[in-house]
């Protein structure tokens, strides 16, 4: 759904995720400020094969809701997609929450590169524990906010986490979301070469290491039940994981971490898995 020769950086995860949009029928994209805006094409060109409505940073889900309402009344079939960054999910959080609560019949996709990349890698609420960004030069001290869990708490019709590291799994989740009616939410883990400081050929490897080390859990929530996704299932068991250090040490944003930092992060990750497991009943 995205044409070659676009503005994305070498090894860009968002460009890769946009390619997978061909799994969704009749898509209409609503995109706020962020890398995706730029990747989708600078005026007078559009790099997308589908219609794109560019909108202000905090407005995406509300605009998408309005688009869908109008289509519904006119009998137009469409999958309206609010395609937002983790930063847009910060500033548009109330809007996202209202959209989920109304059960707007749209798909929300968060391309989560764990920072405000488009403005120069400032920390977002999704930024990983202790990661260096331009606004957390000594490493982020705050929590990492878990959007997907929050969306489950909204009783959304479909919630999934995905990653550009496992493209078939991501495509399946797009397909599945496309076939469900109601509020659908997919958060895609998007390792970003310039922002996380790793070489452009490592995007997929790092994305996979995130899953294998337990740093990024793959799951789906539908019919009121949480299920770990096939590919990531085995990493629910800590024994099956690779060491967290292997994931972190591959990225410049964690170059400052000491062993005790990594242990602290591991503890935070374990706690998250405990919550997820309780949700899933596994």
């Amino acid at each position: 759904m995205i044409l070659p020769g676009n503005t994305s950086c070498q090894g860009c995860p968002i460009s890769l995720a946009m390619r997978c949009l061909d799994e969704i029928e009749n898509p209409v994209l609503v995109i706020p400020a962020g890398c995706s805006t730029v990747v989708a094409g600078l005026h007078p060109n559009s790099a997308m094969k589908i219609p794109v409505i560019h909108v202000p940073f905090a407005s995406t889900n509300a605009v998408a809701c309005g688009v869908k309402e109008a289509y519904k009344r006119a009998g137009v079939k469409a999958n309206v997609i609010a395609w937002i960054g983790d930063g847009a999910a910060d500033i548009g959080f109330a809007t996202l929450s209202a959209s989920a609560t109304r059960k707007d019949d749209i798909i929300t996709v968060v391309v989560d590169n764990e920072a405000y990349m488009n403005t120069g890698t400032q920390a977002s609420l999704s930024t990983f524990w202790k990661a260096k960004t331009s606004t957390s030069p000594a490493g982020k001290a705050d929590e990492r906010r878990d959007l997907a869990l929050i969306m489950i708490a909204h009783k959304a019709d479909y919630v999934a986490t995905a990653t550009v590291g496992y493209i078939e799994d991501l495509r399946r989740k797009f397909r599945k979301a496309s076939q469900i009616e109601g509020f659908r939410f997919i958060q895609i883990h998007c390792p970003c070469p310039p922002g996380w400081r790793f070489p452009s050929e490592k995007t997929i490897e790092i994305a996979r290491k995130a899953v294998m080390s337990g740093a990024w859990a793959l799951f789906e929530f539908y019919d009121r039940k949480l299920r770990f996704s096939g590919i990531g299932k085995k990493f629910a068991e800590k024994d099956n994981r690779i060491s967290l250090a292997e994931y972190l040490k591959a990225q410049g944003r964690f170059e400052h971490l000491r062993d005790e930092d990594i242990l602290a992060i591991e503890k935070a990750i374990d706690e998250e898995w405990e919550i997820l497991k309780r949700f899933s009943g596994e």
Binding site: L16, K49, P193, T203
Partner: protein, 79 residues
């Protein structure tokens, strides 16, 4: 009313011939390639065809295809 300033039209190479960004060129060794299409699936730019031909006008030379190829059929050659 002139809508041109707010409308953008679909274009292959919206950012021009991005192949000029490349420092290294991925070269496929056809003898080693088993057409598993992994490189096709993971190329962020979508410049590898299902027949496993690379469109060098737009390939940015990120090297993901090389990393993903289990057959080690892709080599990155300095431009």
């Amino acid at each position: 009313m002139d809508l041109e300033p707010i409308i953008s039209r679909m274009k292959l190479g919206a950012a021009g011939e991005t192949g000029t960004w490349r420092n290294y060129r991925p070269v496929i060794n056809k003898e080693l390639c088993n057409k598993c299409k992994t490189c096709f699936s993971y190329c962020p730019e979508g410049v590898i065809s299902e027949e496993i031909e690379i469109d060098y006008r737009f390939c940015k030379g990120c090297g993901i295809c090389k990393e993903m190829c289990r057959q080690k059929a892709i080599e990155m050659v300095q431009e």
